[in-house]
């Protein structure tokens, strides 16, 4: 697999995207990253290995701690995390505007 293929594969999983979104707010340990997910720490570690092999994150060595962080060049430009979420709501509310316009038409005799 090329680096591009492995990055695509890494991003195709919702748990790995959530891990990347968490790391976009700052580095975190495996324990921190595992907390919100109903899966085991080894399973999270496997996801982290996929992300690291894809060149999307890296491990920092800090004494006995091994926090993970985004590789800035690979990811920060890649995804405007908040922008994607805002776009989801903007698309929904644009549709809601249409629904409301129909309701207002129905209300007008």
């Amino acid at each position: 697999m090329t680096q591009l293929d492995s990055a695509f594969a890494a991003l195709a999983d919702p748990t790995r995207r959530a891990i990347l979104a968490r790391l976009a707010t700052g580095e975190a340990t495996v324990q921190d990253l595992a907390r919100p997910f109903p899966i085991s720490q080894p399973a999270i570690s496997r996801h982290l290995k996929v992300l690291e092999d894809a060149g999307l994150i890296e491990t920092r060595i800090d004494g006995t701690s091994r926090p993970r962080r985004l590789k800035p060049d690979a990811v920060e430009e890649l995804w405007d995390w908040l922008g994607q979420y805002r776009a989801l709501w903007e698309a929904r509310y644009a549709r809601l505007d249409d629904v409301l316009a129909d309701l207002q038409k129905d209300d007008t005799p």
């Binding site: 591009l4 991003l11 968490r22 997910f37 994607q84 979420y85 776009a87 989801l88």
Partner: protein, 157 residues
């Protein structure tokens, strides 16, 4: 007048979404509790539909929403209503991606603003990690764009 949605991260665990509508609060409220209306707008980008939209909008009532893009049918959400009045809906929700995200406490207010509505939705998550998971949930549909951007970035590397 309608204006672009505003999205703010408040503290470590809250997401605040505000949006104005030209319609009055009573209609915006209806569009949040009637399944026939909800399924017309609470969907992702083009290509997604909401075949499952069941809700019992009263305190203690529950809801179940399910989305599909034709092939993937696993994306759904469940929750319970805590308070339902024309001015305010408070509910708890969790999304299944398909793994469940932690409970999201959502407080939505519909305030009169001239002849229209100012809507404010405050989501409170149990942890910064849970908030990140919710934000990441907005992404399945944006993947194609992101892949295209990734290709550009890696081509430069």
């Amino acid at each position: 007048m309608t204006a672009p949605v505003q999205l703010t991260l408040d503290g470590d665990t809250r997401i605040i979404v505000t949006r104005s509508f030209t319609a009055p609060p009573a209609l915006v409220f209806r569009a949040h509790i009637e399944p026939a209306l909800i399924r017309r707008w609470m969907i992702g980008p083009d290509g997604w539909t909401m075949p499952i939209c069941d809700c019992d909008p009263r305190p203690g009532g529950s809801f179940r929403f399910g989305w599909t893009n034709g092939t993937d049918t696993s994306f759904h959400a469940t929750g319970e209503y805590l308070e339902v009045t024309p001015e305010r809906i408070i509910h708890i929700e969790r999304m299944f991606l398909p793994d469940p995200t932690p409970d999201n406490h959502v407080d939505t207010r519909f305030a009169a603003d001239g002849t229209g509505t100012r809507m404010t939705m405050v989501m409170t998550l149990p942890s910064p990690e849970a908030r990140a998971a919710v934000i990441a949930s907005g992404m399945p549909d944006g993947l194609e764009d992101s892949y295209a951007r990734l290709e550009t970035i890696l081509a430069k590397a």
